[in-house]
């Protein structure tokens, strides 16, 4: 059972205070998008063995969503950051790259 630090309230919250929200940094496709784009947005999810970016909500705490980078194989947590991020912060990406030299990047 994971422990993640909520970047909004600073609490080190254990998983029972949190709600998982799946893959982070999805781009929404609405009316006017192609079937392929919509299919990718709606159904195609990454399932890596390794570095993964996820959405979590501090549901029993401050109620805010945040994003987390962790390794799905070892459960190492590289960092958490605000949900209002278009991409993982540069310093977090650098940290992951240092720890996982073979990592191909977040996209």
């Amino acid at each position: 059972m994971l422990t993640l630090e909520c970047p909004c309230c600073g609490v080190k919250a254990e998983e029972t205070e949190l709600q998982a929200g799946g893959e982070a940094h999805l781009k929404r496709y609405g009316p006017g998008s192609s079937d392929e784009e919509f299919d990718g947005y709606m159904f195609s999810r990454k399932n890596p063995r390794g570095v993964h970016f996820e959405r979590w909500r501090h549901a029993y705490g401050c109620g805010k969503w945040f994003l987390a980078a962790r390794c799905t194989a070892t459960l190492e947590v590289f960092g958490t950051y605000p949900a209002q991020s278009k991409e993982p912060p540069a310093e977090l990406q650098a940290k992951i790259k240092a720890k996982r030299p073979g990592w191909e990047g977040w996209k």
Partner: protein
Amino acid sequence: MSKAVSALEGVSHNGFVAVAEAGLRGMITLRGDLASAKMKKAVKAATGTAVPARRRIELNGDKAAAWMSPDELLILVPYADAVATVAALEAALAGEHHLAADVSDARAVFTVKGARAQEALMKLCPVDFNTLAEGEIRRTRAAQVACAFWKSAEDEFTLVSFRSVAGYVMGLLDVSARPGSELFPA
């Protein structure tokens, strides 16, 4: 005769700590820009306190302001003052994006009193009390429901839950405070 009654009408239990429903309390959910000058003034006028910093509760007699999230406060006032306080906050924040909602009747308030008050809460909340600072409000869960608590006096915690689950929360506190179940018996 007052028509307003709290969920459990003040029921209490005595175990190794005393647990009691604390009756009605005025509570207002206030959302907005916590850093704005208008907000500071509005909170000061409502509670006599500053806008609390992250995870802090500012206490002032029977009033208080508590930090709930980066854009939300909980304003505590006497129950009878809640409606007027909402109106005052609305007026003070006019022209600025905000939301003030009376939630006095949506909540139940409990006190857990005694030298071992923390031990009763340790059975219900996944919280490291060692890291809980003086004057901190902690939003978490008590067993299966959401709650928030803070140290309201020496050897006393005040805990707030939703009104509909007041009976459940009192059941939890009662069983957690039963004599003989102290976590660190002398």
